[in-house]
């Protein structure tokens, strides 16, 4: 009983925290209280007020609006990354896991190398090759995260390959493709969901990290990492400029990881 309550607690808190960050981010994609790029000299570094609940940044841009836009950017890149990773990762993992053999061996060797490499670094290398920018970052991270999904999906396929339901599907005359993507795929969803949540978090953190380094989202576009980087100058007198995007990032990650905990 005590156990169940804890599970629910994680789910509820996780949902609340996720909602706190994603809902404003989703709204931020279409509407923000103020324009996020328009500067206003009289509001430079303005303190929090009723009109600007978090105050304004060094260009007099409303911090709440910036955070909304920044969260949206971060969220989109996180989702995009997961999407690329899952789709390609599932495809590769399914093929290699299902067929096995030498190709599988070579591929997995390669995949393990990629996997043991920190994804942030991998993304950095891709950025080095492709150049910096929002789209490049999205692809760099997406590719960097493929190996982790390949690993998970492949393991599931290796396991499923010899299971009775697969054998009977084959006997019934289903094609390999059908077996792979109609019969086995749905069985990987549960385990995939969890790694999607973890992967999303890693992607969000990686995006923030790279933007923080200045090779992700370019100004004046906002992203949580970029905002944190800019805020360092004002750490003395307006630590809020760093704390607001930073805490937003933490809440976003915390919420998702609590949801992930519940899934286990």
């Amino acid at each position: 009983m005590g156990k169940n309550r804890r599970y629910d607690f994680n789910l509820i808190l996780g949902s609340i925290l996720t909602a706190i960050t994603t809902v404003p981010a989703l709204i931020g994609m279409i509407w923000t209280p103020y324009d996020t790029h328009t500067m206003n000299n009289s509001l430079k570094l303005a303190k929090a007020s009723l009109m600007h609940p978090f105050g304004c940044d060094n260009f007099g841009r409303d911090l709440l609006s910036r955070v909304m836009e920044g969260s949206a950017t971060t969220l989109l890149i996180g989702l995009g990354t997961v999407f690329i990773g899952v789709v390609i990762g599932t495809f590769i993992g399914a093929l290699t896991g299902y067929y096995g053999g030498l190709v599988d061996d070579i591929f997995m060797r390669f995949n393990d190398v990629m996997f043991s490499f920190p994804s942030l670094l991998l993304a950095l290398v891709f950025v080095a090759v492709m150049g910096s920018g929002k789209i490049q970052l999205l692809f760099a991270l997406g590719i960097a995260f493929i190996p982790s999904y390949v690993r998970i999906v492949r393991a599931e396929y290796v396991r499923a390959r010899n299971m009775d339901y697969v054998k009977s599907a084959k006997l019934a005359g289903a094609s390999d493709m059908r077996v792979m993507f109609v019969h086995i795929l749905p069985n990987t969803f549960k385990i995939l969901l969890n790694s999607v949540l973890i992967g999303f978090n890693n992607a969000v953190l990686a995006e923030a990290g790279l933007s923080f380094l200045g090779i992700g989202v370019q100004p004046p576009d906002a992203s949580l990492g970029r905002m944190l980087s800019d805020a360092q100058t004002y750490l003395f007198n307006r630590p809020g400029l760093a704390i607001v995007p930073g805490v937003t990032l933490i809440i976003m990650v915390l919420g998702i990881s609590l949801l992930g905990k519940r899934e286990k």
Binding site: G214, P220, F236
Partner: protein
Amino acid sequence: MKRFKNLLVSALVLMLTVALCGCGGDKAGDGETITVGIPQDIEESLDPHTAVAAGTREILFNIYEGLVKPNSNGDLVPAVASEYSIDDEGKTYTFTLRDGITFHDGKAVTVEDIKASIERCADTGSGDPLVAAFSNIESVTAPDDKHVVVTLKAADTDFLSNMTTAILPAEYISGAVAEPVGTGPYMFVSRSPQENIVLKRYDGYWGEKAYIANVIFKVISNPDTIVMNLEGGAIDMFARVTSAQAAQLSDNFEIKEGTMNLVQALYLNNAVAPFDDVRVRQALCYAINPQEIMDYAFDGRGTEIGSSMFPSFGKYFMPELNDTYNQDTEKAKALLAEAGYADGLQFTIKVPSNYTQHVDTAQVLKEEFKAIGVTADIELIEWNSWLSDVYSGRDYQATVVGVDASTLSPRALLGRFVSDAGNNFVNFNSKEYDEAYSAALLSTDDAAQTGYYKQCEEILAKDAANVYIQDPAELVAINKKFTGYEFYPIYAQDMSKIRPAK
């Protein structure tokens, strides 16, 4: 396992103690060392003749000297030469080698060193000479071991300003010595890429010796940490902080305000579309309001400029050019429409990421361009990429930077806009301009020469070679432990004048 645990605990305790003692011990507060933050690493070589970046030159100012050198008033004073004379015609310059002057390695400076240095910069073997003006040198001779005579092809009364070119040992020039050796008040000790450059006072300096024994120029590649570094005591001084950064500093710091002596502009690549069309360039000029930029990004500080000249140049500066274009959205839109961009246009501004003031300026510009339907994308690039891609490679559409004057001659600013100038990174191409400029060079009459230079400035403004913005205010943040900072009309951080307060 007990051992393991003890190990853990002692490791933790050790780390904490180290952490806590390590930091309390502030840098020697004896005024023997000053750490100066610099926004970018200096160029690969410390060769003063090939250094391009102002950020490198302002540091090398402490190590190298020319026959003459500028003082803080902008006057040229004798340095390696103890005196000089110019013949009436302005064709023959005679320099007398200063008695007893030595390089940092202790060797005496000889006339051969001077000859080698000048000849190296005048060498046309690989295209343009290192110092463009040296193409006018007919010969460099040393009649005896005390004098050097520079003879020009054509008379030039303004030639002396080029003689600030650093004097290096002949062995360095021939490649026999790699260590940077000069005659300046400070000598080179070490450098660590992306980390620092360390200088030491040269006790054999011919002039007034420096007050502070050690100077460390520390690379702060992340400008967002400048304030933290200053307040935390990691650096004592940072030239060119932004006004926003200055406002963040506590009263442990003195903010010295001068002018940066920069032509800050949105430099446009005149050779690529859409900026090969003068109407587009003019439209951008009409779109902006320099005062607004200064208000947003510089707390209202700065001096508006309208061409490639800044106020420190006194008689050459033309404030009236500021009004060539006053913000006029309608006119800008009309010009764009005329040029075929009625539906707006999009271009990319490359900005060196380590210069906050330029990044900030670019962000304000972007907003201003929006009003005339122009979308500017900002791309932040590393300073070295800027040098190679934008400055040398000329692979860009637009960039926001400040261009400084390497010498005290207006040529330092205007020479680069001659069509075939090697440093004409904006690819400005105007016959009219080239004629005016060469007329200025040939002229021996000061008034006439000034007139030609002004004509050049007018052409730049009229043709909207670039979107001129301002000469930014230079804010130097310096810890109150130190005093004696002096501004120079050229890019220089003269560390030898700085001394401990009291």
